[in-house]
Symmetry: C2
Amino acid sequence: MARRPASKGADELAFVALGGIGEIGMNLYLYGFGPPQDRRWLMVDLGITFPGVDEPGVDVIMPDTRFIEENRADLVGIVLTHAHEDHFGAVVDLWPRLKAPIFATPFTAALLRAKLEERPGLKLPITEVPLGSRFAAGPFDVELVTVAHSIPEPNALAIRTPLGLVVHTGDWKLDPDPLIGQPTDEARLAALGEEGVDALVCDSTNAMREGISPSEAEVARSLAGIIERAEQRVIVTTFASNVARIRSIAEAARSAGRDIVIAGRALHRVIAVGQETGYLPANLKFHDQDAYGYLDRRHVLAICTGSQGEPRAAMARIAEDSHPSVSVAAGDTVIFSSRTIPGNEKAVGRVQNGLAGLGARVVTDAEGLVHVTGHPRRGELKRIYELTRPRALIPMHGEIRHLEEQGRFARAQGVGHVVAARNGTLVRILPGPAAIVDDVPVGRIHRDGNILIDAEDGPARQRRRLSFAGIVVVSLVVERDGRLAADPEVVTDGLPGVNADGVEIETLILDAVEDAIESIPRARRKDHSVVREAAQRAARSAVNEAWGKKPICKVMVTVV
Amino acid sequence: MARRPASKGADELAFVALGGIGEIGMNLYLYGFGPPQDRRWLMVDLGITFPGVDEPGVDVIMPDTRFIEENRADLVGIVLTHAHEDHFGAVVDLWPRLKAPIFATPFTAALLRAKLEERPGLKLPITEVPLGSRFAAGPFDVELVTVAHSIPEPNALAIRTPLGLVVHTGDWKLDPDPLIGQPTDEARLAALGEEGVDALVCDSTNAMREGISPSEAEVARSLAGIIERAEQRVIVTTFASNVARIRSIAEAARSAGRDIVIAGRALHRVIAVGQETGYLPANLKFHDQDAYGYLDRRHVLAICTGSQGEPRAAMARIAEDSHPSVSVAAGDTVIFSSRTIPGNEKAVGRVQNGLAGLGARVVTDAEGLVHVTGHPRRGELKRIYELTRPRALIPMHGEIRHLEEQGRFARAQGVGHVVAARNGTLVRILPGPAAIVDDVPVGRIHRDGNILIDAEDGPARQRRRLSFAGIVVVSLVVERDGRLAADPEVVTDGLPGVNADGVEIETLILDAVEDAIESIPRARRKDHSVVREAAQRAARSAVNEAWGKKPICKVMVTVV
């Protein structure tokens, strides 16, 4: 990578992502201002992502904040663009390492405070900033620009420094009728374009998709039609944070003469915050899940958590007919007003099959307009390029293929300069032209049980190995001279009990270990590491012969 | 479930699936003829499926054939409809348990023989039957009806017994121009309809999808256009068994003046069989992968395995730039002429991101018509109902939601009787009306290492548990009276090394175990199981306190 340090002492505007570029989720962007040796930093978002098959047993994954922790004294603030988990989900865990002021709009602040209820003792210095406001954080002059997305109060940021202006889009789309909040403020974006945008740092999620996405209002009409036509019970699952969708569903239920039942903690929390912040009517009437059973089947609609097939959420339990209150039967309609996040396809399929097996008609976004993306398609990207006329584009928020595609598309639309930043690449935006000039340490932190641990050192990798071939542990009790003081013992886990001929594998291991130790000359047995290694080799090769796989093999030697 | 045994001794035609109904893959269908106490059985297909996140370390999954093994003497034959793994992939592993004659058309037989090269000593009694032929297997009169699908020589079966006629569709679609072989034989299906179809057992895969799927010929034209316009190297990955697709790609390469390079063993095998059976021209010229490096970048096209993101296949290695011969660079085009099988989304995404990061333009079926399904959409289902006018429909080949949707759709199309069979439900088709009358044992067999093992008993479940929370093994050496003869030892795997305060977890375990044993009254220590249980409880609770998770905990007690 080219390294072109600026001349010492001159102010620069820098940009680096610690997460969010080259992956979906875990967004964390930093803007730096000052001479390279003495930058002040502004953090934008601090999100999580969820573990995949390579990280079994991990609860959540967060960006490694080592780089900014080392520069904590220069961190002037953390601005949260909106309250999706991939943008603010790591605040509660990582703020104690950063201790910087937090800026958030009222809805985001309210959801953050709601999370704090689970962390007694933790207090966060949250400054509530109004939509459309402008505030200072160290050398940064930050303006919130209203955009549309799939949660209340999403913001783009206009970040001004003495060197120039950067527009950071956050998650956004164009939506003439987002139902909650205002449409994306195109007039403001155009004014910023007039002022001169040195760089546009822009959401890449849907850069492969042509056209313009439907409006939230169209989804509401389509949902209302499906709910109106339903003959028996209706269950709808959606992302809990999508307050506009919840309101649409509630209004459709009311029009169709159906009472609303809520199942799932995350929904209760968001509804409370939605009412507190005025995005849901204070007189919105809903029942707790217990009411489901006694309401007439043509006059009830349940909104449930679990659109991603999460095994402990309401939908999964309904699908296996083990939910304490909510059930489905032939003739009922279940609407997945959501998309399936990549990696969750099998879990979601299992839930949908369970529901179909109970007789429900399952409606997904493949069967009807029951969900819409919150990210810009190509037609929308084209529009933001036209409005802001950026000198440079830095694609963010997406996998590599999305970022690369946005870069290609932007060039074809006449954006003159595209910087292919990655997590950890430090971009000098100004003085321009924007270029990658350095890199900083990045990584992932696992929350695993109650421990935060570097993904590289963490036990998830060991567990992944265990999941392929299991483990063999041998215990040897030896005297000082290396003679066995008792028969070896073995435990195995994750191995078959017997080989293809029906012989116990533990017996084969013990025989092999005893033979191996026997065959060590007396004199060498005094070195217990020789005994240990011989036993380990023997155990591993006995299993490999019996099973064709090589488990983890450990030997304990106790001297008596 | 209603059980309505027929009067003793009267002939019946029965149907049961041991796999394939309620899941994708692992197809195994049985037709039985005779009185209930003395049925002869015909097996249709014997396929595998692939493990998911719940079955870590398992190689392949096969249907549990216990039911038919118990009736092996009455198994008159195994008819293979076509050579996809989910229809014939378990033959090599399970035939030794069944030992019945196998009926297959030449291409399927040739691929089966090619597999046998990896199983020296195994010989299979394969009877090659021509396309469109009719043959007897015990009391069954079996006619092959040509259909279109995504592999050469797919067949539906017309199964006649003295009681009547059943049409088993196998995997099929309508395709006016399948490129290899003939279109689905609609005239023959109509003639069977005239004769009187007592039951149609029909593919449900695409029952949710409206319309009629595009033709293989349309895909060929679209691929040819993309390849013609490519400026640098072209790499195409597809399912190795799709010989028509391989031929289309080869022809497009020739038209574009590109030499063909093949990378991946499965492709070499299919191409050899394709040439042997006449589906690929004997003069098809291709280079081995080593040629890729020296051919001009505008005059080369590589066909590679790995469309599902398989980590050891060619595409995955190309994407991480570790393939010995094939590489990509900026300006190259990589075409995924395939669909992503559910569960593989993350692995495929990883490969596509790797390719994009190397500068390649990645074209998938979301970006162009580069793949088409081999299964019937609703327009095609409608057509087969019209042609065959079945008295009863048994939806097969699909997840529950697909089966249920085909049932609903068929009823709406006027099919008067739908039987919602599941794996293991025994349907009496004739004398009609068709109804579920019994059930038989079903299950799954894992091939795990070199062992075939019942999924319920198998070690995959243990390994799944290990993958969440790891394992702790404690070794205690005690004297007869229960006193510790040495300090306890512990090994852990899949746990963090230290707790949140930096204290070693193994130390915490050992301290807890020693304390627990100390606190057992002398007299009770003589019972070593008391010592063992105390140690186990102490270890588990020490870890839970340190980590918030409960690993597997095992204790070995050696008496000296």
